[in-house]
């Protein structure tokens, strides 16, 4: 056997399981089909750490959420990802909605959600969140709710897992799983792997992967949510703002991001295509009209990006975290909201399954290191420190991304880190180069240059996110010759 454990899927769930299992004396690898981890649902979701009062008591996700929320403090200390308990507000705009707030508070408090409070004093509400609409009647304040950067959390998890021996294989799409004696053979496009245990954390593709292993027990449906992100500095929110929920989703929320932007979204669109992360005119209109109900002053002309993400909804509407009849094959599926909040609790559950259901005798490693150093950011430096850093390494003095003030040193670090960036989007999500208001307009060619140098690939081989996502698909004016001439001839003849 090549491995004790293979984890399929490099989203936040898969990476958290990898990191949690890396405490134990196991040989582990993680397979991801995309060019980078955190490329699916993890990349485009609300990034909210929920307090845990929202889900119905009949679902296990409620329990995971409430417990998972509490695990964030220690994880944050160990892994140094951007995280803040901002508190969340559920906003009632009509008298009749207060009843539901009371219900949420009572049951939430009973189930261990700390500090839940209904506030009806408008002045106090406005002090908490000055941007909230004047039409507010009452709010449910959950101080333990907060915001996180989901992909930076995932990078932190992966880096720490890698430090503790987990191997990562990106652009390794699983195309078949065969039961072999005492384990599985996992077939990917580039090569085959064998392992005693397989953990399916394939997100939107979890049902497909489960079927490959012969554990055909559930379905996954994609539900699309669209978002609009606004430029920094024009509006500031203190709290995550939820409207009263609808049947399909928690509704269009307005939230600060950990990096000081504001976003609105998501809507909830049940779609058929499991890869359709396109945004729609109708959807963008829907979230704008929802957003302005909570925050009337949204700077609608200062949107810098719209994007969509898919939530993996299972036919049970709940998390599916269980050992299957195929002994050694574990499903971790249907992880929709509050999946991000639950992530550490889910990983704990996987450990329990390994010990109790699969009878693994997990032994802790001697040299486990739970700490992942915080990536250095120019924005965190004092002026003296910055001066010192440039003296040590000139790359700190060459600013590549002007909107977010990201120097070459941070871009190089995002490539050289364990499980580092291999394409433009990887750099962007790790160090924010290209994330600002110009969306890479100025810095993209320079980031391409650095990627080309660091990865030792030709400039025009640099991609947006692997596979066919090349930026330069035509010709090179300064090198190629004959091709050029031929083509211009053809055109001239037209």
């Amino acid at each position: 056997m090549d491995y004790d454990v293979i984890i399929i899927g490099g989203g936040v769930t898969g990476c958290c399981i990898a990191r949690t299992l890396s405490l134990y004396d196991l040989k582990i690898c993680l397979l991801e089909k995309e060019a980078d981890i955190a490329s699916g649902t993890t990349k485009a979701n609300s990034g909210i750490i929920h307090a845990g009062y929202a889900a119905d008591r009949k679902y296990v996700k409620r329990k995971f959420c409430i417990h998972g929320n509490k695990l964030f403090d220690l994880a944050h200390k160990e892994l140094n990802f951007p995280f803040k308990r901002t508190g969340t507000l559920v906003v009632a705009l009509e008298e009749r909605q207060i009843k539901d707030l009371v219900y949420k508070r009572n049951y939430g408090t009973e189930d261990g959600v700390p500090g839940l409070e209904i506030i009806i004093d408008k002045n106090r509400i406005k002090r908490m969140e000055p941007q909230l609409t004047d039409k507010v009647i009452a709010v449910l304040h959950a101080p333990s709710g907060g915001i996180v950067s989901p992909y930076e959390l995932t990078f932190a998890l992966a880096e720490n897992a890698h430090m503790n021996g987990v191997e990562f294989f990106r652009e390794h799409e699983v195309i078949g799983i065969n039961k072999i004696v005492a384990g599985f053979e996992v077939e990917t496009k580039p090569k085959k792997f064998t392992s005693r245990i397989v953990i399916n954390a394939a997100g939107l593709f979890a049902a497909e992967v489960s079927r490959m292993a012969g554990a055909d027990t559930f379905e996954i449906y994609p539900r699309r949510g669209e978002y609009i992100l606004f430029d920094k500095g024009l509006i500031h929110l203190n709290k995550v703002l939820f409207p009263m929920p609808t049947r399909l989703s928690k509704g269009i929320l307005a939230s600060p991001t950990i990096h000081g932007h504001v976003f609105i979204g998501p809507n909830a669109d049940n779609i058929l295509d499991i890869e359709d992360i396109s945004t729609t005119t109708r959807g963008l209109k829907e979230i704008i009209s929802g957003g302005v109900m909570l925050v009337p002053n949204l700077p609608l002309n200062a949107a810098i990006r719209n994007f969509a993400g898919l939530r993996a909804v299972s036919n049970t509407m709940d998390f599916i975290i269980e050992a299957t009849e195929m002994v050694g094959f574990v499903n971790v599926a249907g992880i929709l909201s509050p999946g991000l909040t639950s992530t550490f609790a889910i990983a704990e559950e996987v450990v329990r399954i390994l010990i109790e259901d699969l009878g693994e005798e997990l032994k802790e490693k001697e040299k486990y290191n739970p700490y992942r150093p915080k990536p250095e950011h120019l924005s965190d430096f004092t002026k003296m420190k910055l001066n010192q850093k440039i003296k040590e390494n000139q790359a700190w003095g060459r600013i590549i991304c002007r909107c977010e003030t990201i120097p070459e040193a941070e871009i190089v670090d995002s490539i050289r880190r364990p499980v580092g960036a291999t394409a433009i989007d990887g750099v962007k999500f790790r160090c924010r180069a290209g994330m600002g208001r110009c969306q890479g307009g100025f810095c993209m060619p320079r980031v391409m240059e650095i990627l080309s140098r660091e990865l030792n690939i030709p400039y025009d081989e640099v991609t947006k996110r692997g596979k066919g996502s090349h930026y330069l698909v035509n010709k090179v004016l300064c090198i190629e010759l004959t091709e050029d001439s031929k083509e211009s001839e053809e055109v001239a003849e037209k």
Binding site: L477, C478, I479, L481, D484, S485, S488, E489, V491, A492
Partner: protein
Amino acid sequence: MSESSKKDKLSEDKKVIRCIVCPTGCEITAENVDGEVKIIGFGCKRGEEYAKEELFEPKRIVTATMRVEDGFLPIIPVRTEKPIPKELVFEIIKELSSIKVKAPIKVGDILVENIHNLEVNVISSRDMPIKT
């Protein structure tokens, strides 16, 4: 150009040309009045000249890039010193893209003399220092 071919180009009785000499964009009309070409609507002398030229012998300045050896940049912007016949634009660009010049280059340096025997030189649009 002979008188008859001039008339061919004005087969319709009226032709409107949008002047591009300056941003005003005057609409200049060329009318065929009993075989005489009458040009009206121009705002300045240059506009009148442009309209005549555009009718009978359209010309353009060609701006392009050429490849550079040892330059601070891999390519250098160049232009034809004077406008050249419009129908030759593609051919000239093709020709230019196949020539490599050597840095250092100063703005205005003649990089190709008498291109296409048009009695027009191709000159550099900027300084190009040597790669350091």
